[in-house]
Symmetry: C2
Subunit: 542 residues, 2 copies
């Protein structure tokens, strides 16, 4: 896709790109004329695919919209109704809808049923041959539409006696006019109905001896723009949008400022294998693995409390269900007056209010997700449980799980602890704090009373770590000392240390991955399901 961006990429900084096009002059009229002809040819080609019967006196009621009509020819003032808004209140009214032909079924030559989908909502549209209104040719035209084509349907809303099973809306549209705005190819890489099916449905069908298509993850991701059309995916990214919105709203209401830190940072060979390296105008550079340095600098720059929502890059070779090479980081950094519990307080209130709001505002979306991927609602307390790391170790010990009291927890132990905490406290969302110093980054502030521990915390959802946070060392001399203790060459981080020499507030912060929040909140089994276009060690496209 390099050429697309090269050609312009929406010129926000882009007069050059626009200028990259050639300049016209009157001499080039001939070339223009050729272009005009080509354009007409394309329009004609689009039309030629239509098999309209010219002898049908009702031919103007249906057909493919020619390209020229779609080139902003006119503003007609017509109003389209959204499929989601089609309810009984509109009974007997004429509506115009635009959506996709999800399924098309002709019943003999006199009737056809079209399920039209828009943004995951579906409505059944009925074509019935009626003299002087709807011709047999029109039913034929409808029956020949390819699935996923975009169509304009004009018709009258009716309310059938029996509930409708094959569509989300409980009304029908008695079609009068039908136009195809954009044709899909006849054979799609993925059938949306196949992609939208739950495992349970497939298994049930199998038990009944019927073999249904199971769309595997790679096929889905290779054709992501199709896969995303399923109701569950439509819902997942609406929930993701809500999570981002709630995160932001809460933090703004707490006096935080949203910042944007650079993703291109200086990088030397010491960067390690988890860093994407590149050349920046002759200098070695890399992609930021977190906004850590810059968000701390923003605190040293007196912004008080800051947050950022932006991409984070990890070149790790992790092939797990929870790792991506690029994900959306939700990062917070804030001055603290006295204690790192001030940071945990923000985490607590932020997430509890976020969960409350999602439950309240995203009912339809959670239902849609649950229909394909059934899950139990997250259990959390109004005031988030906080356990110290030592208490966590103790709980594990009592359950017979022996772990290094000053080591880190592995994924399996975290899951076990989550289970034990749930049994004991009835919550799947909790904070574990006072981690051993040795398992945290060098810039973590040690505990005042025991340097084996640190003023840090992790937060867990359904037994998986989701947030990591801490008080930071703000004293430059001590920071240098801590770096040295961790075997880091202090000279390589002098910029970082120097930013604390001109008066540094006591501060702390935390970071969380947007995709993981959505994944774990909805108990999905793979972070690729909650990333719009996921990037992992084997996937860089689409």
């Amino acid at each position: 896709m390099a050429d697309v961006s090269k050609e312009g990429g929406e010129g926000t900084m882009g007069e050059e790109e626009a200028a990259a096009g050639k300049k016209f002059s009157k001499k080039e009229a001939a070339k223009l004329e050729r272009q005009r002809k080509r354009q007409e040819h394309a329009a004609a080609a689009a039309l030629s695919a239509v098999s309209i019967d010219e002898t049908d006196p009702l031919a103007s009621n249906y057909g493919d919209v020619p390209l020229i009509e779609l080139q902003s020819k006119a503003v007609t003032g017509r109003k389209w109704t959204e499929v989601a808004d089609l309810t009984e209140e509109l009974k007997d009214q004429v509506v115009l809808i635009r959506g996709r032909a999800q399924t098309i079924r002709a019943v003999g030559k006199k009737m056809a049923f079209l399920v039209v989908r828009e943004k995951g909502f579906t409505v059944q549209c009925v074509l019935t041959v009626t003299p002087d209104v709807l011709s047999g040719q029109m039913v034929k035209y409808a029956a020949a539409l390819s699935k996923e084509s975009i169509i304009d349907v004009e018709g009258v809303v009716s309310v059938p006696k029996d509930p409708i099973k094959g569509a989300s809306q409980q009304v029908e549209v008695q079609v009068r006019k039908l136009y195809c705005v954009s044709k899909a190819i006849p054979i799609l890489p993925i059938n949306i109905e196949d992609a939208a099916r739950s495992d349970a449905e497939i298994e049930k069908a199998e038990q009944a001896g019927e073999k249904l298509v199971r769309v595997n993850q790679d096929t889905r991701l290779n054709n992501r723009f199709l896969d995303l059309r399923t109701p569950a995916n439509q819902a997942i990214f609406r929930v993701q949008c809500q999570v981002g919105t709630l995160f932001r709203q809460f933090l703004l209401s707490e006096g935080c400022i949203e910042i944007h830190t650079p993703k291109l940072i200086p990088g030397s060979s010491e960067g390690g294998s988890a860093v994407f390296k590149l050349e920046y105008k002759g200098q070695p550079a890399c992609l930021a693995q977190s906004p850590q340095l810059h968000k701390q600098m923003a605190i040293c720059a007196d912004f008080g409390r800051v947050f950022e929502i932006g991409p984070v890059f990890r070149a790790e070779d992790s092939f797990t269900h929870r790792h991506l090479c690029e994900f959306v980081g939700l990062d917070v950094e804030m001055e603290i007056k006295e204690h790192y519990s001030e940071v945990m307080d923000v985490v607590d209130r932020l997430f509890v209010s976020m969960f409350d709001s999602i439950n309240q505002n995203c009912k339809k979306e959670l239902d849609a997700i649950g229909r394909q991927y059934p899950f139990e609602p997250l259990k959390y307390l109004p005031k988030t449980l906080r356990l110290t790391f030592e208490e966590g170790i103790q709980i594990l010990k009592e359950a017979g799980v022996e772990v290094d009291p000053l080591g880190d927890l592995n994924t399996e132990t975290e899951r076990k602890l989550g289970q034990l905490v749930f049994e004991k406290y009835g919550t799947e969302f909790y904070i574990l704090h006072r981690y051993p110093l040795a398992v945290r980054p060098f810039y973590t502030m040690p505990c005042y009373d025991n340097p084996a521990y640190s003023n840090s915390f992790d937060v867990f959802i359904r037994g998986e770590e989701i947030i990591s946070g801490a008080q930071r060392v703000h004293v430059p001399e001590f920071l240098a000392q801590r770096a040295e203790s961790c075997g880091i060459d202090v000279r390589t981080i002098s910029t970082y240390i120097d930013s604390f020499r001109c008066g540094a507030p006591t501060h702390g912060g935390f970071g969380v991955g947007l995709e993981r929040v959505v994944m774990l909140y909805c108990a999905l089994n793979n972070v690729r399901k909650t990333s719009l276009f996921p990037r992992d060690p084997q996937r860089l496209a689409p």
Copy 2:
């Protein structure tokens, strides 16, 4: 800074990073002990810098806070008042504030004035030697504080008769207690007062024969965390945050979904010089120059209307006041029913409501910016003026400016047109649409009535292009044809073209740079002033 991220970078995806630390065992107690000693030593070192007179019976009222007290030792329940909130209503009350010692001035041995700054707001604090309350040694201690050190001040609010010139708050604090939380080095790379001065002040002083320090841009940017402490910079990034917030709020209220598209995309050698290239797990990759492809795919995925706020990367060698190598793109893409004017309608309402809100909600910030960088408020109409490109050419022609009627406008001509439009219509914000097709990217939809023109637009603020938008070609065959006409090898963009083959909505969108919006709204002369940590061909740090 590679090592900082290596060590953890706040483990949102990070159990590995955390585990990168070594595991402790009981055997390592000796090492722990050494660490404990070092930590005590660091604390002692911090203390040793303090020249507290142990014989002063009032010595507990002042001094440097030892490190251990700043390691989350206790939650005392003390309440700090923000400097911005210090008003006459608090007269005679005891307050505790935390801020920076901006200026320190001793008057003899019995009195000292401290200006304390917090988030750009300042208050004058007065130390007066008083028996049994405030000692001469305490005045000496205060006088010896280094500028920009962070201090806790406890004192009584008083209201002086005369207005206070040297601080933003019109009350004083009669100091009782004074503690230094974090010391700044005695000689700072930048003096905040110097950095905060307007050109007018410097020139006025020069005329009076006084030479004031003028901090140049490179010095500012090299020490950005200091430079950002000036009231104007504090305000600029609060306005930037507001612009992002208003952009988002408006679009969410219009039914848009916020999306996050990948910044790492497949890239071949054809990418051109404006692309940052890198290796992605053995594959050639590059950094997205815009979310163009992916936001269009999101439209093909039925999201209806989407927007994104995220970094955009341009490797161009542009050394102008308005170009950056990394900036924050505000991008919108939306289905259109009939006409690209639907996109312009969104631009119109979005920006007018944004300007209205900034004027209303950011008065203090705009004042702070104006004090250092005086500017006239932006003049805009409640309904944004729209001119066709042909009309724009005509206006220029009438003013004697001859330009190619089918070419692009250069920066100079744009500025001239902005001036003429302002004279004629009284607005500094307007839309120019129906651009010549040849100067737009290949995916721009040509006009239905004349293929020399396109369904596209640019938007201008104060004579500079700020937004670029258009209807896109959604018909795959026509798109391929357009690409060919522009000399693009269709095979290199097959993924892009294929995403329109499964039914593509008619759609359009636009993009704008956050930094440019703030720069032009506030009539600042350089986009580096509105980028938190700017990146240009010569700057990759801090």
